[in-house]
């Protein structure tokens, strides 16, 4: 193997300059390295002017440097260890790190090399403890971490919702042997059992039987073999099935049973396959016996036997289904290979309290599931393809469930899972690719003072295009593929190349313009009768929402199309009013800047306030498209309050509250919201949730069930989606739901 490779450094060991807190997990064939670093990162800030001359803009936009904490995890073949250590040594500038946490069987073997190269003291951590710590971390912080594997399905990977409470669970770690660990809380776990028949048995026996040395090659052989020529099946003994016991004829009665009697040579492939079945079935059976004994249904599988190998995931899944009759599902983890190093890293970083924060997977910096699989990714077998990366950003805010979710464990934010819907996937990937030119242009235009912006924007284009191509082949790379994940990936890539807010100027201009019409709009609404006003408010809200960027020329359609759906919206709104007294408190997830928020949302909010309903406006913590951010909304609210006594007194009396959502996505995941928001929602006894806009109410949350009344509204600004939902372009979605559908 070529050990003297030249690494593409900036693409693999990123942000090494500020790296500290190293951890390493060296397994039988793969090394996993972890470090913490801080990333200099441009953010767009808005700041209100103290006083405004008539033609001055509403607020000032500035780009500021911010420090972002990021975790880097890199996985590579052991053969590259020395090269990698050299590289790290050369690029590690002023770090005060003295220790590297180490785990895994190979840590011992490479101890001297690491100490010599990096001048860091190797501090060994218990393997199992690291594994569990890492497992808890990914389950808690990465949505869609766990999946079930379905071999012949259109999408082989079915990602699972992260249950709000991740405990208790059973972890079956299949290394050379098998360890079965019951995990009950962050710090309580127990090795309840194990087996000596594991990956080492497959490898060792397989090597003896087939003279094939490498584990991967053995799996390759197995995937081509027929076990029925080697195994004694029920039908070999019975001639058919064993009916009274319900054992089918194809069931293996005795593994390798035919090789004792048949005087013939068996093919390597057949023997490898038989061996794989024997070991997978045995492990599956034990896992089930332990799951039953401890009454656990969440069973995760990991270890090198599983790691990214569809063959073993399939045989284990099959075995679990057989032995539990479907009661227990075999669960696998996207970042299974990183658990040990994540755990070791966390052990070393305990003083930083990493578990106090929420972390988010950075799609721009992470390679995604199966990035190094030669089966799925023949093109990536090039050198850099043997490196797999995971990056996690420390989020500013701690994220929790919206307390108003009816059933947090079954909540799925996304409306369409593109990984299971090939047509939809094709369409959206195409859309995002088509839109890329425009995004690049806008990104460049947002930084007119920076001459290298064009170059950076090209890098962004290249990176995002590459992501889209990867997702075309591996839609499962980052969990379920959704419109939300495509949008978020784009935001991550833009941030990666320091385009924190390409729409900042546009938003500024539109906010400015809309503010000028606010008083006039309020006045004309007040002149209407109550019933007319309700209608106009909804109409305004929806009309405002159409003024999403790029969909400007639609207002005419809005006005003229009789089927637009306003009538229905109005009827629903009346129904809502008829239900009873005004709501105690409404939580409003807002969407776009400009006309939408100022002329659509605010008059509606004003009406709610007048009815005695408190309002909590939730907006994004950081920029995404032209969505209004919390910072911007604060300035806008101040301005509106200055013009409108209703808003002013509401702000003063705390009846109108602004909170940040904790999100920086054009979509909305109600299971990952700012902890402060959750607190406010609870304190105020919120009994109405309003979600506005395509991203938040259609691409996500269309089917979300809440424990209180909810209103989801948007205008479909995409003809394909309109078609999918059985409507026309610019149709209105106005979905009013009460808690219990039956009584509503």
């Amino acid at each position: 193997m070529d050990k003297s490779i030249t690494l593409p450094p900036n693409e693999i060991f990123r942000n090494l300059e500020n790296a500290k807190r190293f951890a390493i997990d060296i397994g039988g064939s793969l090394t996993k390295l972890a470090y913490y670093s801080t990333v200099q990162h441009k953010v767009a800030k808005v700041r209100s002017f103290d006083h405004t001359a008539k033609d001055d803009p509403l607020y000032e936009i500035s780009m500021q440097e911010e420090i972002l904490a990021r975790l880097h995890f890199i996985k590579f073949e052991n053969a590259y260890i020395e090269t990698c250590l050299d590289f790290i040594k050369d690029h590690l500038v002023n770090t005060d790190t003295k220790v590297i946490k180490a785990t895994g069987g190979g840590a011992h073997k490479f101890k001297d090399l690491i100490e010599k190269k990096l001048k860091l003291r190797v501090d060994k951590e218990d393997e199992m403890t690291c594994l569990i710590k890492g497992c808890n971390f990914v389950l808690r912080n990465i949505p869609h971490e766990a999946f079930v594997y379905v071999k012949h399905a259109d999408s082989e990977f079915r990602f699972q919702n992260t249950h709000p409470d991740i405990f208790p669970y059973l972890l079956i770690n299949i290394g050379s042997g098998v360890s079965i660990i019951k995990v009950e809380s962050e710090d309580t776990f127990e090795r309840v059992g194990g087996s000596s028949i594991g990956g080492g048995t497959f490898w060792g026996l397989g090597a003896l039987l087939t003279k094939t040395k490498r584990f991967d090659e053995l799996l390759q052989l197995a995937s081509k073999g027929q076990h029925t020529s080697v195994d004694m099946l029920v039908k070999d003994i019975y001639g058919g099935s064993y009916v009274s016991l319900g054992l089918t004829g194809d069931l293996i009665a005795s593994s390798f049973g035919k090789s004792a009697t048949a005087d013939k040579e068996f093919s390597k492939e057949d023997m490898a396959k038989s061996l794989l079945h024997m070991i997978s079935n045995d492990i599956g059976q034990l896992a089930c016996l332990y799951a039953r004994l401890h009454n656990l249904t969440r069973v995760y599988f990991g270890g090198f036997f599983i790691r990214g190998h569809p063959v073993t995931m399939h045989t284990i899944t099959y075995s679990i289904n057989f032995f539990t009759k479907g009661e227990v599902q075999a669960l696998f983890l996207r970042h299974e290979g990183y658990l040990g190093t994540i755990g070791a890293f966390l052990k070393g970083a305990e003083e930083d309290n990493p578990n106090q924060y929420s972390w988010g997977e950075n799609y721009a910096g992470s390679s995604g599931l199966m990035s190094t699989s030669p089966d799925l990714n023949p093109m990536q077998r090039a050198r850099s393809g043997t490196f797999d990366m995971l990056e996690m950003d420390r989020l500013e805010r701690q994220l929790v469930n919206l307390p108003l979710l009816q059933d947090p464990s079954s909540y799925i934010p996304d409306t369409v899972d593109l990984s299971e819907d090939a047509l939809a996937r094709e369409y959206w990937l195409y859309c995002f690719e088509e839109a890329l030119d425009g995004v690049v242009k806008r990104a460049v235009a947002s930084q007119p003072d920076l001459p290298e912006a064009a170059e950076r924007a090209e890098k962004f284009r290249h990176k995002y295009l590459h992501k889209l191509q990867t997702l075309r082949h591996q839609p499962f790379a980052y969990g379920s593929l959704t419109v939300r994940s495509l949008l978020d990936t784009r935001e991550h890539c833009l941030n990666e190349f320091n385009f924190p807010d390409p729409y900042s100027k546009i938003k500024q201009r539109e906010n400015d313009m809309a503010l000028k019409y606010f008083q006039k709009a309020v006045k004309s609404l007040e002149e209407l009768s109550w019933e007319q006003r309700q209608f106009a408010l909804v109409r305004g809200l929806l009309a405002g929402n159409v003024f999403d960027w790029g969909a400007k020329a639609v207002s005419d359609v809005l006005e003229s199309d009789p089927e637009f759906g306003f009538e229905q919206a109005k009827r629903q709104l009346e129904g809502m009013k008829a239900l009873g007294p005004p709501h105690k408190c409404a939580l409003f997830f807002v969407d776009n800047s400009g006309i939408d928020i100022i002329l659509g949302v605010f008059p509606f909010v004003r009406e709610l306030l007048c009815r005695g309903t408190e309002v909590v406006l939730a907006s994004n913590s950081s920029p995404a498209l032209n969505d209004v951010t919390n910072n911007e909304l604060q300035i806008l609210t101040e301005r509106i309050a200055a013009m409108d006594p209703v808003i002013q007194s509401a702000v003063k009396e705390d009846r109108l509250t602004l909170v940040q959502s904790g999100s920086s996505s054009p979509c909305l995941d109600l299971s990952r919201l700012d902890k402060v928001l959750a607190g406010v929602v609870r304190e105020r006894h919120t009994d109405l949730v309003i979600i506005e806009g395509m991203g938040r109410a259609i691409h996500t949350n269309y089917y979300a069930l809440l424990s209180c009344e909810s209103l989801k509204m948007a205008v479909i600004k995409n003809s394909w989606l309109a078609d999918r939902l059985g409507g026309k372009l610019f149709s209105v979605v106005f979905k009013y739901e009460v808690k219990d559908v039956k009584t509503g």
């Binding site: 026996l205 004694m232 001639g239 035919k258």
Partner: protein, 375 residues
Amino acid sequence: LEIRFPWKLELSFPWFGMDIGGTLVKLVYFEPKDITAEEEQEEVENLKSIRRYLTSNTAYGKTGVRDVHLELKNLTMCGRTGNLHFIRFPTQAMHRFIQMGSDKNFSSLHTTLCATGGGAYKFENDFRTMADLELLKLDELDCLIHGLLYVDSVSFNGHPQCYYLENPSDTQNSVKTPCSLADPFPMLLVNIGSGVSILAVYSKDDYKRVTGTSLGGGTFLGLCCLLTGCETFEEALDMASRGDSSNVDKLVKDIYGGDYERFSLQGSAVASSFGHMMSKEKRDSISKEDLARAMLVTITNNIGSIARMCAVNEKIERVVFVGNFLRINTVSTKLLAYAMDFWSKGQLKALFLEHEGYFGAVGALLELLKSSEEP
């Protein structure tokens, strides 16, 4: 004067019970020793010849064997007294056996051939077409339990049928100790043939199959044949008795240098069966005996582990191991006794039976006798 009731028909000889498994056919034959002169005169020639052939030989053809040491003497069955013989031959020889039945004109004897095991189904048609014989097919688990309870009840020529190993934690010095299975229920019955079936037995007719595993005697022999080139179970066991599995298996101490204290795992425990075989150097330095031993230890420990989990899940403390895998296999009996005792901290007890793999065949014979008692 003997009064013969019309509904109790005299059951005609010969009395056989047969269990046709995946690897071995087990045959029990009742040899009446109380034949009157009158009877002897009436006895047809081929019946006589069958009796003579079976009782005067201890080996049949190349592969048939009579386990003389297991013979049950002076047994009274269905009013007749005689000896019960235990014969086995490979299932591969089944067609030759059927052919012999045809040659000896077995069908003219008008006896019912009671058969259990999968082969009763698989070979049913061959019996019919080749030898004009109809099989009475019986469920193998029913036969197993009935046969086991019966054989235990009649004692082994005055000695107990059942035994356990005293001092199981010291496999070098554990002692075979006879015991009684007087109050057998509930018991976990682990039948190790080519594959393994595990039953929870609550009474003679109340039992369930808890689970099974395909890693059984057939796996041990099959893999031994492939790895060492041996051809018989005896050969494989003989090699295993001379081998050292720690050259093949990776032990806890090979990974952790000693005990894995965090989880109180002893250094001598096997961490990965055949784990050393991942390395080419180790593969090149290994003996066939070591491989056979490792195979035996791997299969046995795995069965022990599954049996123990089933016992815990079913809340049964007595685990009875039967099946021909345990024949002349003291390595496995000791390991199983040790595993039950060690992992359960003395809660579970492993029991063994002298007639290991013949209970199904006995159960089949009992069905034959039962059929004569029914009106």
